[in-house]
Symmetry: C2
Subunit: 357 residues, 2 copies
């Protein structure tokens, strides 16, 4: 059977001050009327019935997420005591699924992306099953729309001889976030895709790669899998093992060194809602290139995002800024450096303002 | 006798959102522990006894100013029903003084400037009386410290043959706020001063110029002067006449076309606290060129003024900004365009946000 696993454990520090530890970005109304997490669930319908949608997140986030998607069975919320990166999160989901269904195929999805074209998205997921059943680790590749230095890239190889509606290609190489020159070269070349961080694979195929490439983690995971026969034992084992698990991403830990990786082109109107600058891709701009939400007044202002709260925000003679106002904290960042809000939050955590993170 | 007339009727729109209609900048603690108005009174001591210090302001502002300088006699607060610019304000002060003392010399001073060296300031005022008694209209000229395009300039002529401690020069020409090239030329030339807007003259000499250059206003003023014999009549006359008075500044209305204008060099640590960018001249900067007041956290931030309120203000990757936060309104401006906060306030007055001005 085909299952969806939504990763919803991120903290969204780059969207501070709106995103906080206690209200992470996937639980927020940033774009549209539903939260990012709700949209991630909504767009799976009707491809996945509710009982085949799983959510991996941190224990702390379960009480925030569950009320937002009460249609999912409670046992489908898989809670990690601590976030350990995407590789352990997906390993945990995989052993849960293997227990339910040894032949499960899992689609790995995100709760902090925006997807404008949900029907095409479901079509890509449905089509990717053929390659996954043929034992490929399938990556959803986004045709680049600009020379982003914020995403990883995937170089495509030959078309795979599979019977699927859409062509699927061998993935030759994963390229980490490039310099501007590399980004410009790849973005203008049809041989490259953005790495969306969404994948489709057989659960056993992923677990085989984990065994081969992350043997230490795999043995920890095997202990957790063993404990699944008894809920009490599982809770105790997870609480004991997880703090010892090393942090790892699925890209570094698995994909870069994996055999038989495929990429399926996904023209789905995808945007990573990762930072304030990415909201410039999503929200409509006025003729001056501004995005103005909340009470505002501008003089000679261009390319600026005003994400307001209750107070008036006035701007004079500014360019390419991000201004985000909340009741207890205000951010003013250049659009170009909006990724560095992450550094700011790290600084804040070490300061007297830790409570505001 | 020598009198001081402090002009304290300005609204300080360029210091919005801290300066508001109902709490104009001269009543605020912007620099130091005393308000700008209190500092303007304080620095006259001991040159002027309290009964020879007059304040011209708008009726609305009297209840704000009087409690700040209760040492001045109540009758020394001269209230204009409406602000009509500096020429009518000074005309009104002049007729009040002529009635008290037909030989009065008046020093015209401001409540929104910062003067670092008060002893030198009092020395310049004392010295300027000689030229004023010789019937010159004396301007306090500030030796330029940078190529400001925000001030008017005065070109100096020959030294006047007067017996005073400091040399006094004929003023050849008043030059309005120049373009950057003109500002650069004049700021690097010892033949030019900034026009401080502070003057010393015989009351009758000013009134003669008003009669010659602003005859319409002078006849209105004569009616007001006539009414001074009776408080009730004065109140009624002012209320009737003042709304009909045309707006005019002392620079355009009198100084540019006046005969026998002098300039006395004033090395007094003078700064016009006119706009947020002028506060960069006044407040100490940290090694990154920032001025940070209120709770803040910065990443890669330079040349930026953070004038905070109660909330945390965080900045990332910004340069040369002015960020001013209050409970109900926030300003983000480029330092370069901080003068245009005036335009912003004009826009606000026409908008639904008028109450915030």
């Amino acid at each position: 059977m085909f299952y969806a696993v939504i990763m919803a454990g991120g903290s969204g520090t780059r969207l501070w001050p709106v995103s906080r530890r206690k209200r992470p970005k996937q639980t927020l109304h940033l774009v549209g009327e539903r939260t990012l997490f709700q949209q991630a669930v909504d767009r799976l319908e009707p491809l996945f019935p509710h009982d085949r949608i799983l959510v991996v997140t941190k224990t702390d986030h379960v009480p925030l997420l569950q009320p937002q998607a009460p249609e999912l069975p409670p046992e489908n919320y898989l809670a990690e005591p601590q976030g350990r990166g995407t590789a352990p999160a997906l390993g945990l989901a995989a052993v849960h699924l293997r227990r339910r269904d040894p032949d499960a195929v899992m689609a790995v999805l995100t709760a902090d992306h925006h997807i404008a074209d949900a029907p095409s998205f479901r079509k890509v997921l449905a089509d990717s099953q053929t390659a996954a059943q043929a034992d490929f680790l399938v990556t959803l590749g986004i045709p680049p729309t600009f020379a982003s230095t914020g995403y990883g890239y995937i170089q495509k190889g030959e078309r795979l001889p599979l019977e699927s509606d859409q062509p699927v290609f061998r993935a030759l190489r994963f390229i980490e976030k490039p310099e501007p020159s590399g980004a410009a070269r790849m973005a203008s070349n049809e041989g490259y895709f953005w790495n969306s961080g969404m994948f489709v694979w057989r659960v056993n195929r992923l677990l085989d790669e984990l065994r081969r490439q992350m043997p230490g983690f795999y043995s920890q995971l095997a202990e957790v899998e063993e404990s699944l026969r008894d809920p009490q034992e599982y809770a105790e084992t997870l609480a004991r093992i997880w703090p010892q698990v090393a942090e790892q991403t699925i890209d570094y830990g698995v994909m870069e060194g994996a055999r038989d990786v495929a990429v399926i082109p996904a023209r789905i109107g995808w945007t990573d809602v990762g930072s304030w600058s990415s909201l410039f891709e999503l929200l409509p701009r006025d003729p001056s290139g501004n995005i103005l939400a909340g009470p505002h007044e501008t003089v000679d202002t261009r390319g600026t995002l005003v994400f307001g709260g209750r107070r008036l925000i006035a701007t004079v003679g500014v360019r390419d800024l991000v201004i985000v106002d909340t009741d207890d904290a205000l951010l003013v960042s250049s659009k170009e450096k909006a990724q560095d809000v992450r550094l700011l939050v790290t600084q804040l955590k070490r300061s007297a303002h830790d409570a505001l993170t």
